[in-house]
């Protein structure tokens, strides 16, 4: 059908021979399987960092802000640096999900879920800093317009700091409902696929009883579009207002009219760098290379190039205008000759190198498509953007109008610990998310499969644009499950053996391994035993099931006897094996299914 047409010149966004079912299996696999050892190691490190930061926060609140390295000249330092850094990182998610939705960019669908998760977790970290900086966080509700005992002395709506309160809380809450609404169909998929009653209950609650009626989908798409329309100006307003914190002041270097567009571009720049950092690791660990492809990474690199270019031009303008104004105070602002050669020269050059020089390498196509290089550049940008905020805040304050009060800033262990703690907290949240949430918007990816899937693109290339896209799905009528809302449901497969299993396998070469495998798991006797539907095990799709059938593995009982040794044998026999039995714990799942029979 030509309605799925997409220009052949566009690169496929879903690689491999994927069916709709394969997408469900691949996205569900990390959630329905078991956590790997490396996940536990990273999680433990993040948790320790988080607890260390929590200790520093408790120490700060119980003792006072004096435990930080602030002094009379530099009254804002790491706290606001970290706040702006985290808020900036929190800009990429909404940009991907909202702005790219309005521009109908299909590649956003593979990355929007995780980018939005990153956004929400980053904004949570950002919100911590102003609350800690209040000194008495239990009075944080004073920022709200509530009647009070001081004759209703209202909050000051003229202050950019109060605008921040409204902007960031609106941004956080709108991002959250945007994210959750998109999650409903994917939670429903997990709810309907899992074999565990506990998971079924949890995902049933989280999915809000999503049923996928045609009217629900119509509303869903409308709501997504309107939320994208609302979130686009919202995301621009948030960092604009953050920049007002500085731009409306009278401090040299802060009082700058180009701050709003420059800050927004910088926020998107740093946000995309963080998305790259996280997704490059995630696609590897969760085996999502078919969905988050090199093409996706290249597209994000192009956004980094564009926003990085805007930031670079803004630096040059700031530097030029500071000099051109002829105002002596401007000689010491963060982008000036004075800063480049003064005591903070290292911070100045870190900013220039990380944000202006390093990203230029992405103009080279081979580097833009190089995953390792992209990861390095993304890390460098993350560091550079932290220095940008540090430079703006600390360098500008360190040399004020009174020469006798010039000083430098020395962070204490509390400053450092709190910052590391928020990084730990961020990764704790992200790692928990990666284990329990569908990390790719699978319902949306299914909508682009026929237009942007590799196999469908090949189909059109070989048979013309009007060729039928109807998928021939393998039938497994024994699966016809009962209603999703019936608890303790029993799904049982019983179907006649089909003899169309034509996977290439060199029996002679692997005979020894096959014998070893079968002797470990037991043989299948077709005359007395009945085949089980192995596809009910998470991680086993139609293709893998065929392979198992070839070896003579037909029942849950056989699969439940597999150990790591048998998994290894399977991989050796087939060479390329599209599943990860250890992670999905086939044997454990098969045991449950066997006992349900």
């Amino acid at each position: 059908m030509s309605s799925h047409y997409e220009a052949p010149i566009r690169e496929p966004l879903v690689l491999g021979e994927k069916s709709y079912h394969d997408i469900s299996v691949d996205i569900g696999a990390p959630v329905l399987g078991k956590a790997s050892k490396s996940w536990w190691i990273v999680f433990t490190i993040a948790l320790v960092a988080f607890l260390w930061g929590l200790g520093c926060i408790i120490y700060t609140v119980s003792t006072g802000i004096g435990v930080w390295g602030l002094n009379k000249t530099i009254g804002w330092a790491w706290d606001i640096t970290n706040f702006v850094w985290w808020v900036g990182i929190g800009h990429a998610g909404t940009l991907i999900s909202a702005v790219l939705l309005l521009f109908r960019q299909k590649w956003r669908m593979a990355v929007n879920r995780s980018a939005e998760a990153m956004t929400i977790f980053a904004v949570v970290q950002a919100g911590l800093f102003p609350i800690i900086h209040m000194g008495r966080p239990w009075l944080a509700y004073w920022v709200l317009p509530l009647p009070n005992q001081f004759g209703s002395l209202w909050i000051n709506f003229n202050s950019p700091l109060l605008w921040d309160v409204f902007a960031i809380s609106t941004y956080l809450s709108i991002s959250l409902v945007f994210w959750w609404t998109g999650l409903l169909p994917d939670f429903a998929m997990l709810r309907d696929r899992t074999a565990s009653p506990f998971q079924k209950k949890i995902y049933g609650i989280l999915s809000f009883g999503w049923s996928g009626r045609v009217k629900d989908w119509q509303r869903f798409e409308e709501v997504s579009l309107v939320l994208a329309g609302l979130a686009t100006p919202l995301v621009l307003s948030v960092h604009t207002i953050v920049s007002f914190d500085f731009a409306t002041s009278v401090v040299p270097g802060w009082h700058s009219t180009i701050y709003p567009p420059y800050f927004v571009a910088g926020a998107i720049f740093s946000g995309f760098a963080m998305v790259q950092t996280l997704l490059i690791i995630m696609r590897k660990v969760l085996h999502l290379e078919s969905y988050i492809t090199v093409t996706h990474i290249e597209y994000m690199n192009k956004v980094i190039l564009l926003t990085g270019g805007i930031v670079g031009v803004a630096y040059l303008i700031e530097f030029f205008l500071g000099w051109y104004s002829g105002v002596p105070y401007e000689d010491y602002v963060y982008l000036s000759f004075g800063a480049a050669t003064g005591p903070y020269w290292w911070a100045f050059w870190a900013l220039i190198f990380c944000n202006m020089v390093a990203p230029l390498s992405l103009w080279v196509k081979s580097l833009r498509r190089n995953i390792v290089w992209t990861f390095i550049v993304a890390l460098v940008i993350n560091i550079g953007m932290w220095f940008e905020r540090f430079d703006i805040i600390v360098i500008d304050l360190s040399k004020d109008r009174l020469t006798s009060s010039w000083t430098m800033f020395q962070p204490t262990f509390v400053d450092i610990g709190t910052f590391i703690g928020t990084i730990g907290f961020f990764f704790v949240l992200f790692l928990l998310y990666a284990r329990t949430f569908p990390v790719i918007a699978q319902a949306e990816v299914k909508t682009i499969l026929k237009s942007s899937g590799e196999s469908f693109k090949r189909l059109r290339a070989e048979h013309g644009d009007d060729h039928s896209h109807v998928q021939q799905v393998e039938q497994y009528p024994g699966d016809a499950g009962p209603a999703a809302n019936v608890e303790n449901s029993q799904l049982r497969g019983s179907f006649s053996p089909d003899e169309d299993e034509l996977v290439q396998l060199d029996y002679g070469l692997h005979q020894g391994k096959i014998d070893e495998l079968i002797s470990a798991v037991g043989t299948f006797d077709a005359t007395v035993q009945e085949r089980d539907n192995l596809k009910r095990i998470m991680g086993i799709g139609p293709a893998v099931e065929k392979k198992l059938h070839q070896l003579g593995i037909y029942t849950f009982d056989q699969v439940s006897r597999m150990t790591d040794r048998e998994y290894e044998l399977l991989k050796e026999i087939f060479g390329v094996f599209p599943s990860n039995p250890e992670m999905d714990d086939w044997a454990g799942q098969a045991l449950i299914l066997k006992n349900q029979k």
């Binding site: 609106t170 609404t181 696929r193 609650i205 009883g209 996928g212 309107v226 939320l227 799905v473």
Partner: protein, 178 residues
């Protein structure tokens, strides 16, 4: 009399769309369609009117803007006017430029949240709500069309649905009296 419903399951979205059009052309009544993802053009093919959620969002946005204007006018101009950095606080009009960011944020806040709440209520989505899709595979890769049996000859209707490409068909007896 018991009313029967027929559940026809399709394995492909193109096939489903074609079947929906054929079923409607034969004047059978489609009471519901369950799909794992939004199928483009399906709502029109089924004959659903467009949703009015975008209009509600606009109205909610107006409410948010009004609340913001009323709130800041009451707090900063009427109830306790203050001289803050020399910014004029005698009339709302003079002080308004400083209020624009919050007017914008509250418009977005009301428009977004109230629309989503309306969506959840209209589509009956909330925690602990039981799912109503009749087959668990409709969130994975199957597409289910529910057709009213009414007083059609079920033999002819099932035959017709098979010819539209349905892979499975089941007749659901409705026990309720009408």
């Amino acid at each position: 009399m018991a009313a029967n419903k027929i559940h026809a399951i399709y394995t492909d979205d193109d096939l489903l769309l074609q079947a929906v059009k054929q079923t409607r052309a034969e004047d059978y009544h489609i009471s519901e369609v369950y799909t794992p993802f939004p199928v483009h053009g399906l709502d029109e093919a089924v004959g659903l009117p467009p949703t009015r959620l975008a209009i509600t969002s606009f109205l909610y946005g107006l409410v948010g803007l009004s609340v913001a204007i009323w709130m800041m006018n009451y707090m900063m101009i009427q109830d306790w006017p203050q001289n803050i950095g020399g910014k004029p606080s005698f009339t709302f009009y003079q002080n308004m430029p400083a209020f624009i960011p919050i007017m914008f944020e509250m418009t977005v806040f009301f428009a977004g949240h109230l629309m989503v709440i309306t969506f959840y209520l209209r589509s009956k989505l909330w925690p602990f709500k039981k799912a109503e899709n009749p087959d668990v595979r409709t969130t994975d890769d199957r597409f289910l069309m529910e057709v009213d049996g009414e007083n059609h000859d079920l033999e002819i209707l099932t035959k017709f649905l098979y010819d539209t490409g349905a892979s499975e068909i089941s007749i659901i007896k409705n026990e309720q009296d009408h």
